[in-house]
Amino acid sequence: MSVIKRVVIEPVTRVEGHGKVTILLDESGKVVQARLHVVEFRGFERFIQGRLFWEVPVLVQRLCGICPVSHHLAAAKAMDIIVGGEKLTPTAEKLRRLMHYGQMYQSHALHFFHLASPDLLFGFDADPAIRNVIGVAAKYPELAVQAVMMRKYGQEIIKATAGKKIHGTGAIPGGVNKNLSPAERDVLLKDVDQQMTWAKSAVKIAREYTTAHLKELLPFGSFESNHLSLVRADGAMDLYHGNLRAVDAQGKKIFDQIDYRKYVDFIAEDVRDWSYMKFPFIKKLGPESGWYRVGPLARLNTADFIDTPAAETARKEFRAVTGGKTNNVTMAYHWARMVELLHSIEKIQALLNDKDLQGSDLVVKGERREEGVGVIEAPRGTLFHHYRVDKNDQVVMGNLIVSTTHNNEPMNRAVSKVAQDHLSGVEITEGLLNRIEVAIRAYDPCLSCATHALGQMALDVSVVDVEGKMLAQKSRG
């Protein structure tokens, strides 16, 4: 019998980057700041320049193995403008939406059950050896299987609409390259009712957990902030398309119904000497107070309503917890994410029953343009793709602002708050390490398109004094 050895495949670029946290103390030993160090993805400009614009929606999927569909669709939306085809045919828009809701569904299910649920089900102080997805599978087997099947269902939708798992080609400038056949539709329809039941159950788990632990969760890594997302013209949540809306910590609109093609007039990016990742902010408020959150929590704060019944009921329950006011609780991201999960499956069900998906009018083209901006609400938040194309159809400029970059300042604030509340002396306890993990996870950061670091996503935490001397250091991962 052969000896079984532990085999570690050196993880490479598909795995997220290193999560390095530095906690800075002042002379009196008080936490003054915590910094989450992320090496921002570099090389995109060089990679994209000279490429033919119609190749871009496929090429940009190489940015990230986690949310390639979001990059695929954001780039396609930008290129729709280049070909004068931004007014898609009903078949094309609905197919893209189906692809997008499939992505949202699988990503949210994976995050909640795979990454977040161990923290919620076992508690922040549980042994990391148990506080993981296999621990969940052992103690809550039915839930674990359900989570896998939800993720798998979303992936099947992506495969049916994008054509394949790697480098999908479904969205092209001005439309899509295939419709959904009746056979593909029927396979997906077969399981949609079961998925709906599971999604409702997931919202219930998130709601009951949050309301039962409100006292603990309200202050945890929390702070007041602005929030930004796309909303539809009537103020509804729209994950695929819309205009930009930003609200402050009290819910007052900072700007509304801004055409996202003009984003550079409203959003700028700050740089700091200790981080390669930029810090976006709302221009008119400046970098000190103009930073904002994106993603599920922000979207539930910016939207006036959700246009699917079960998710709208869930949204009202979510908003009721804060008396209808803006919710600034970091851990509320999880509940908000599950409301969006439910919204996504409601949209998927409606789309699968829409005969437009079997239409044959797939592409439109119009006046050729040289500049295009595509924005989409990706699972983690607002994603910007911006390109300029020359007369030879070659890309001469490309710029991205990814969701995790928008949430850079909020993630730093969350870690700072946790450090201020839970660091005693200079010792990095297991409890502190656990809580820093939990706070960062709430944002569901995707660092693989924001970083290019080798190595598995480990968490390194250091405590540094005012002179930069390291007082303590601990790693996990």
């Binding site: 050895k5 490479v12 190489r62 795979h114």
Partner: protein
């Protein structure tokens, strides 16, 4: 299907747009034309939890990935079910997927890893490096032989990750 014998899944993963990280999918793309009864080839950017459900349908799985360290041109070894937790990744390790497949689906799948030595995990858009291409050719020759002969445990003794040496077999002629 009336296939007699083990159902084998060869699963390559990695990002073809990031240099030698694309070694896994590249091997699978080359192996796929040979897929016959009992052999399935799959590839993806990364492993994820739903792969546990897929694994449960097979008797043997061979994960194929780029290896940033270890012997060249490749190594072949067992994969042990793992409970390790990745801090914030949406991807999973082979050990985690095998662990989940066993825990959730009662899978009895035997799992192996083929690590092909890569050298340049460089900027976006890079293709395979020349040394990695050479390793891929040798790994492909090995994989072709392995899925036919199926002496997987024997290969782990010959080419294990800790053996300090990689495979020294010669590439076989193109099929």
């Amino acid at each position: 299907m009336n296939h007699v014998g083990p159902h084998i899944l060869v699963y390559g993963y990695g990002n073809p747009g990031r240099g030698d990280d694309g070694l896994g999918p590249a091997l699978v793309a080359a192996l796929e034309p040979l897929a016959a009864a009992g052999l399935t080839c799959e590839s993806d950017y990364q492993l994820a939890v739903e792969d546990a459900a897929t694994l449960a349908e097979y008797d043997v799985v061979v994960f194929v990935d780029a290896a940033a360290s270890g012997p060249a041109p490749f190594w072949f070894d067992h994969v042990q079910a793992s409970r390790e937790l990745s801090f914030s990744s949406h991807s999973a390790t082979p050990g985690q997927v095998v662990g989940l497949a066993r825990e959730m689906f009662g899978a009895q799948v035997k799992a192996y890893a083929l690590g092909i030595r890569g050298y340049r995990f460089g900027e976006l858009g890079d293709s395979l490096s020349e040394p990695a291409r050479a390793n891929l050719a040798l790994a492909l020759a090995f994989a072709r032989r392995a899925v036919c002969e199926q002496h997987f445990d024997e290969y782990t003794r010959q080419f294990g990750a800790d053996s300090g040496r990689g495979c020294v077999c010669d590439p076989q002629p193109e099929a």
